[in-house]
Assembly symmetry: C2
Homo-oligomer: 187 residues x 2
Amino acid sequence: MINTIKTFIPLSGTEEALVADLFREIQLPKGSYFVKEGQVCKYVGFLQEGLLRYYINKDGQELTYEFARAGEFTCNYASFLDQSPSDENIQALENTSMLTISHNNLQIFYDKIAAGNKFGRLVVESIFVRAKRQIASLYSDPPDVRYLQFMDLYPDLQQRIPQYYISSYVGVKPPSLSRIRKRLSMP
Amino acid sequence: MINTIKTFIPLSGTEEALVADLFREIQLPKGSYFVKEGQVCKYVGFLQEGLLRYYINKDGQELTYEFARAGEFTCNYASFLDQSPSDENIQALENTSMLTISHNNLQIFYDKIAAGNKFGRLVVESIFVRAKRQIASLYSDPPDVRYLQFMDLYPDLQQRIPQYYISSYVGVKPPSLSRIRKRLSMP
């Protein structure tokens, strides 16, 4: 994680030690939740190992709109920022190991690390652009486009997760997913 | 604008002068565009006077998802950040006066203002949360909820803009808007 932070900003030796101090390691067993609908997202996490999916419950359907893998930061930012209940779920699809930082400790990070706010700004900017595109795509792109996007963004997940989650991302029932695959592989 | 910035971070006299230097004033006549679909959003703007609306073209329909009034910052951030073509429109509904800062000058702002990155982080955080909620609502909330949201967020606009734009925000044709109004005013 220190190396990931250093791709955005420089960190002195003292600052590295402080960062190590502000985060703590947690384990999320497969199937459990990092954030659940209706609960407050209390931490920003950094994935060391494992896999998460983000989804919304809508009319009894699970709409999956993102996956996060090792080396990525994760958070329901809308809930975390003002510590309000989340309207989304972030679930571990594999046994997942994370480093997490609380809302309080993140404010210490911003105050004590020289370029802390720059790091925060750059990370929020990138999350912002991605989240906005993903939400817009979830609601407006047709299934074929969603499937191509899945293959483009998450080529490694095709073999790694049950088909149900791919269908949920594409926005169709599993049999339709097979038809989309067949159609898209035709010349 | 200086006062708005000061609600987020302190500014020294020298910094105030620099900020004044980095922004320039522009006039947008009613009906013209701050950002047009397919073009790059080159500036972040601060509204001194006037009114903007944000909309997406989808299947020949204009989906309005936000309005901005005097005292607010405006930008298609997704386009501005990596200077890529915008998939949205930001249009002046009244003669609008703005202070704008270019991508280059904003980097100077971040580098030279002591708490510049903190300001950037806080503004992006608030834009992020609002934009994500608005996009999700645009695609998933039913017309009645959209209308109540319009009245809640923009009570002053009801008399200020043509009905067409309210319909476009609610996601219905103008005659349906009258029906929604009637239904919601019943006990």
